[in-house]
């Protein structure tokens, strides 16, 4: 059968398919890397809630693939962070068995709680690439996870870019310093080891793969991935209308509202976002280093422009993010511990500008920032009991989509999970009396905003607790789009009616319950257009209040 014999051009087709297959393989390598981190991590934020990321980079520091597991605030910051490591550590000081670390908010992922580790991958003598991973650890000393620091120096221990391990030998000085500076040394040191181990797994699998396919390095595959991605993203951008659109949005801030503003410009081959017009740097720890702002701005654009195109250096390179110094481009030593509160709002600002370029196609505003709470519980003075630090991630409602209701109590833009309350109650002397959908909180519209949630937390009998509030959209509810109504604003109170502040450390005495009402998402389209059967469903399930049906 001569028609089946392959000509020279067919062989290159086969090569092309081999490249496609290796690309898939590289994604499975980083997925294994992330899985190792999940399985071995100590912090609940990593193991239960998935606050992590993992990826592989070429020797120039360009991200080739990222694990599907993970959250955008890590993935896209890390994409840039690897370049910072390469700049800080000369090539002649890189050896097989090395692992590098930092938690520098401006060189890593935006706050001290995130530990980023980068491991060079050597095949024989040749540096073929890097593996990087990031995870949020439970403690870094300082004031703890909260907005009250006046500068980054109050927020915990800082590791500049340095070696965690050299030629396989762990840096004992670093570990000793770490142990002495954090509240939970076993857990945090354990997580450092687990981060390093996950990069090692990635490296081992990559070398297996190169051996198997007979490649000396990642050069040809990397070129293939980046060329392909670049071409696909360019096609998508070319299909967008050219122009410039401005949007601004108010957020709660710490003690006064903070305006976020963005101008999105679509050129033939680029999407640019400039945050000029946003308010200045805050006195409180809710500022964003630009690296984190970029991460979420790129995420928002990618969701709209190229959701199905793999996330790597080439897709990220098509987006340019800039800002003068302000709350989304805070400089050292501004406090940045809760940079997620502002950072998680960035996508709504960018999406609002894009909605003018793509009318009718962009979802309404949602809760945005996670409703995380850090609880420090203790026995009432003079009584027996337990002390514990408890961290919970909670989500409000998503904005309604053109064609779909918003997602209720679901994280967006963050990619993290919540923790099971049965697991949370084991970690400290608290009782969670309620964690359920907040009826009537979704913004009305042709498509309804997602519902927020109500959480009630009390100290266990004989206990009391302090908590770090990191809540937003209490004064600035998510706005609807195209005639849709705003979602319900959040609230923070005690069960006796006492109104608490949405940010900062506060106290819940024995016998009281803290009540958190996370905001609902905005609606999309005029409420009058919502079909009768969907209204009836809303009423039947109690998703809306009886008088709103």
């Amino acid at each position: 059968m001569s028609d089946l014999s392959m000509t020279h051009s067919n062989l290159s087709q086969v090569d092309e398919i081999r490249m496609q297959v290796m690309w898939n393989r590289l994604i499975s390598v980083v997925e294994e890397q992330a899985m190792t981190l999940l399985r071995t991590a100590f912090s609940t934020s990593v193991r239960e809630a998935g606050d992590l990321s993992a990826g592989v980079y070429d020797p120039q520091g360009r991200m080739l693939a990222q694990a599907v597991t993970g959250t955008p605030g890590h993935v896209n910051t890390m994409a840039e962070a690897v370049g910072n490591f390469i700049a800080a550590i000369p090539r002649q000081n890189m050896f097989p068995g090395d692992t590098y670390v930092t938690n520098d908010p401006w060189l890593g992922t935006g706050h001290l709680h995130d530990i980023t580790m980068v491991t060079p991958s050597f095949k024989g003598e040749e540096l073929v690439g890097f593996f990087a991973c990031t995870a949020h650890v439970v403690d870094v000393g300082g004031r703890g996870f909260g907005a009250d620091g006046k500068s980054v120096y109050e927020e915990g221990i800082q590791f500049p870019i340095m070696k965690f391990a050299e030629r396989g030998q762990v840096n004992e000085t670093l570990v000793a310093l770490l142990r002495a500076n954090v509240r939970e040394p076993n857990q945090v040191v354990g997580d450092f080891y687990s981060l390093a181990a996950c990069n090692d797994v990635g490296h081992a699998r990559l070398i297996d793969m190169l051996d198997e396919v007979g490649l000396d390095n990642l050069d040809s595959l990397g070129d293939f991935i980046l060329t392909r991605t670049h071409k696909a993203v360019m096609e998508r951008i070319a299909a967008l209308p050219n122009g410039s659109w401005y949007n601004e949005m108010l957020t709660d801030g710490y003690d006064e509202p903070i305006k976020l503003a963005a101008t999105v410009t679509i050129d033939d081959d680029k999407v640019l976002v400039n945050f000029d017009g946003s308010d200045g740097v805050s006195r409180w720890g809710i500022n964003c280093p630009l690296i984190y702002t970029k991460a979420y701005a790129c995420y928002a654009i990618k969701c709209v422009v190229a959701p199905d195109i793999p996330n790597n250096a080439a897709s990220l390179a098509a987006f340019d993010i800039a800002s003068p110094v302000n709350v989304v481009n805070a400089q050292r030593p501004s406090p940045v511990s809760l940079r997620h509160v502002i950072g998680h709002m960035v996508p709504d600002v960018v999406l609002g500008a894009l909605s003018q370029a793509l009318p009718g196609q962009i979802q309404a505003e949602g809760a945005g920032a996670l409703w995380n709470i850090h609880i420090s519980a203790r026995p009432v003075a003079g009584q027996d009991g337990r002390r514990a630090e408890v961290l919970m991630f909670n989500s409000g409602g998503g904005g309604a989509r053109p064609g779909l209701d918003g997602l209720s109590a679901t994280a967006f833009p963050s990619g993290v999970h919540t923790m099971p309350i049965e697991a949370t109650e084991h970690t400290g002397p608290i009782v969670i009396w309620r964690k359920e959908l907040r009826e009537g909180s979704g913004g009305e519209g042709r498509y309804r905003g997602g519902l927020g949630q109500t959480i009630e937390i009390a100290p266990m009998e004989g206990h009391e607790f302090e908590f770090s509030a990191m809540f937003d959209r209490v004064h600035t509810p998510p706005r609807g789009r195209d005639g849709g109504k705003a979602g319900a604003a959040g609230s923070v109170t005690l069960d006796d009616g006492t109104v608490l502040r949405p940010k900062g450390w506060q106290f819940v005495p024995a016998g009281r319950r803290l009540i958190l009402n996370a905001p609902g998402g905005g609606g999309f389209g005029g409420p009058a257009e919502r079909p009768a059967e969907q209204r009836a469903e809303d009423l039947r399930g109690g998703y809306v209040n009886k008088d709103k049906g």
């Binding site: 087709q13 690309w23 193991r47 998935g50 076993n186 040191v189 354990g190």
Partner: protein, 694 residues
């Protein structure tokens, strides 16, 4: 099961086919019948008629029937269950709707989350609260339950699920609630502390809801089957295979039908485990590829890997997190949308993708000539010469190479400027790579290296892809047993009669209380053995496992412990066992953190007589006779078509060795021996693919 059954029958109801296998004193008879959705038992009865005629026995001579089915799975996937009420703790009405509060696909703004199995209006919250130490924090509101009972009855609910917070520690509220409701409500009531007594409310509540939801339907089906078997004269005991691969009584299955989910694939894993035992292979990866999905399972020391939670009904491209978590003991396997009927397409990046959408049996792949015009894996296999168009399914189905070629050119070749053969190669490479990736990730999730295993391949499509999969995974050899087409049903006949009882109790190793643990284990032993006693009065084996971790971690690892009463002296032994297991999974034990117990498990099963064993022959004793025919088959290693010998499996004697590239054909399927492999026929008729030079 008090004595050795001479005549045993296995019946597996799958999505397309119902397989029946009769084991008549070691001789196997099998039948494949189309599955009937309206009366699933009918296909079993039809199948039994066929095999007893062939074996020339009467139904009354059957000593034992073992049955597994995807009916419960399908009822969950297709949402065809009873109208079910969930009665839950006040404040937690929405646990099954809020899920993990996350999106399983990061970039899709139009993501749809799976709808909760029980809609919000049918979820009823009742005051009463158990705390994290099992203590009562708030009394159960019995008055509200009385009123609810009237309402459930009046509104005509078919089933009730009860799920309260921390009930895995203290079931008293759930039990009392059931008592109150049962006084007025006639339908079945399932409680989470019995169905799935494990921590993590989302998984446990979902599991009890799934159980309640399919219970009326499964109960009716199982008793109908039992009656009709009696009617036809088969009055022997009927047992069900469960998701964990053991057997349970019909009564237990009717009360806990969620434990039947994925019982068919579990049978496949047991089949592979039995092959592993037969040849003394300690590390095996089983690979089961049918029409819609491929299932991959790790088998160590002749035991399939097990887990305590899995996901059913993944709604979004088989994406992790898009399904319904079910927390019950299961044979752990990874299932991906890669079967003979899986469709191929081109994505926005110009990359070939396969599945999870399947052509099914109607219209089927394009080459079936039943109206399908989109290319499936089978079409690509045909174009590459791996299948013989005139001799598919023993010549019963005539395949059209032209249709296959046209479909591939239209959907793939045209879009990528590839010739049909290159496009077909692309499709097959992509599906093989997807399966290889799934297998690798699955292995790493279990702390294993996939290339340390030998493969056992079965299911209609597996022998076509197994050799290439081995190349990709670095696996040295692959066994293709006889009866591969009905492997699951054969597996049922090999299943141990077993039960695993579990209890979650988080305790630090430093506070190890041997007396309390001895009491707990005694309870678990009784609960596990009382199940096993339903089927045997012979010897029972037990396995004691503690699921342990470092305090602060979220993933436990299983640590096997001796089956005896513990004393305070055992603490050091348990710590050493844990550290050793941990290092095995993750490279090295961690210094510093405290070690804790999370869950205790007792697994009981009857001691079964071991079957025959065979030497594992990697050499062979004679070169196979030259094949009578040959045809061009695409060879992935060289990237070109090669003239390839076609052997008939029935003509190959034990010990015969032949060199790849070659194809070994039989009625049900074809085995592709790729150029890096040789094939050696084994004493039991299995084909061993073995890497050249090894």
């Amino acid at each position: 099961m008090t004595s050795q059954q001479d005549v045993r029958l296995g019946a597996d109801i799958g999505g397309t086919f119902t397989d029946v296998v009769l084991d008549l004193r070691g001789q196997l008879f099998s039948a494949k019948v189309l599955t009937s959705y309206t009366a699933p038992e009918q296909a079993i009865l039809d199948g039994i008629e066929i095999v007893i005629q062939e074996a020339d026995i009467s139904a009354s001579e059957i000593d034992l029937v073992i049955h597994g089915t995807t009916l419960a799975t399908n009822a969950l996937i297709e949402r065809r269950g009873a109208r079910t009420a969930l009665v839950t703790t006040e404040g937690f009405r929405d646990v099954i709707e809020m899920r993990t509060e996350s999106r399983f696909e990061q970039y899709d703004l139009n993501l749809k989350l799976p709808l909760p199995l029980i809609p919000r209006e049918d979820r009823f919250a009742i005051a009463g609260r158990i705390g994290a130490q099992g203590q009562e924090l708030q009394a159960l509101d019995e008055e509200a339950l009385e009123a609810l009972a009237d309402q459930l009855k009046a509104e005509g609910f078919g089933a009730v699920a009860i799920g309260f917070i921390h009930s895995y520690l203290n079931p008293s509220h759930e039990e009392r609630a059931r008592e109150i409701l049962a006084a007025k409500f006639d339908g079945p009531i399932s409680i989470s502390s019995e169905v799935s007594p494990q921590m993590r409310e989302f998984e446990r509540f979902n599991t009890v809801c799934a159980n309640a939801y399919v219970r009326p339907q499964m109960e009716a089906y199982l008793y109908r089957l039992q009656d009709r078997l009696k009617d036809m004269g088969a009055s022997c005991p009927l047992f069900m295979i469960h998701s964990g691969g053991g057997l349970i009584s019909v009564e237990t299955a009717a009360a806990f039908p969620v434990r039947l989910v994925e019982s068919g694939p579990a049978g496949g894993a047991i089949f592979a485990a039995d092959i592993a035992r037969r040849f003394g292979l300690e590390r095996v990866v089983s690979y089961d590829m049918g029409g819609t999905t491929a299932k991959i399972c790790l088998i160590e020391d002749f035991q399939p890997q097990t887990a305590r939670t899995f996901e059913v009904a993944r709604s979004y491209r088989f994406c992790k997190g898009s399904g319904m978590p079910i927390s019950i003991p299961v044979i752990e396997m990874i299932e991906i949308g890669a079967g003979g009927g899986s469709l191929a397409w081109v994505d926005a990046m110009g990359r070939i993708q396969t599945g999870p959408e399947s052509a099914g049996s109607e219209p089927g792949p394009a080459c079936y000539q039943r109206g399908g015009d989109r290319p499936a894996i089978t079409d690509a296999d045909l174009v590459l010469g791996k299948l013989d168009a005139d001799n598919f399914a023993g010549g019963k189905i005539k395949l059209s190479s032209t249709n296959a070629q046209q479909a591939i050119e239209a959907e793939i070749g045209g879009k990528l400027a590839l010739e049909a053969e290159a496009a077909a190669f692309g499709i097959v490479e992509v599906v093989d790579e997807n399966m290889a990736n799934a297998a690798r990730v699955h292995a790493v999730e279990n702390g294993k290296n996939i290339s340390d295993n030998l493969m056992v391949a079965f299911g209609g499509a597996a022998p076509l892809h197994a050799a290439r999969l081995c190349e990709k995974l670095g696996v040295e050899a692959c066994l293709i047993p006889q009866g591969a087409g009905v492997g699951s049903a054969i597996g049922f006949l090999k299943a141990p009669f077993g039960y695993e009882a579990l209890s979650s109790q988080i305790t630090a190793l430093s506070r190890f209380d041997p007396e309390a643990i001895n009491v707990l284990l005694e309870e678990l032993k009784q609960s596990a053995e009382s199940f096993v006693r339903l089927g045997t009065d012979g010897a029972i084996t037990r396995e004691i496992t503690a699921y342990m971790r470092y305090a602060g971690q979220g993933w436990e690892i299983p640590v096997a412990l001796p089956d005896r009463a513990f004393t305070s002296d055992d603490r050091a032994m348990i710590e050493a066992a844990f550290r050793q297991r941990y290092a095995q999974f993750f490279g090295r034990a961690v210094e510093g953190p405290e070690i804790e117990f999370v869950t205790w498990s007792v697994k009981a099963q009857d001691q079964r007589p071991q079957g025959e064993t065979y030497p594992f022959d990697t050499q062979g004793s004679a070169t196979a006779a030259a094949a009578p025919v040959s045809r061009a088959v695409f060879d992935a290693a060289s990237g070109s078509a090669q003239q390839t010998a076609i052997h008939e499996r029935k003509n190959l004697a034990p010990g015969a060795r032949l060199s790849g590239p070659a194809v070994i054909v039989e009625d049900e399927t074809s085995t592709i021996v790729t150029s890096p492999f040789d094939a050696v026929m084994q004493a039991d008729g299995s084909i061993l693919l073995v890497r050249k030079g090894s």
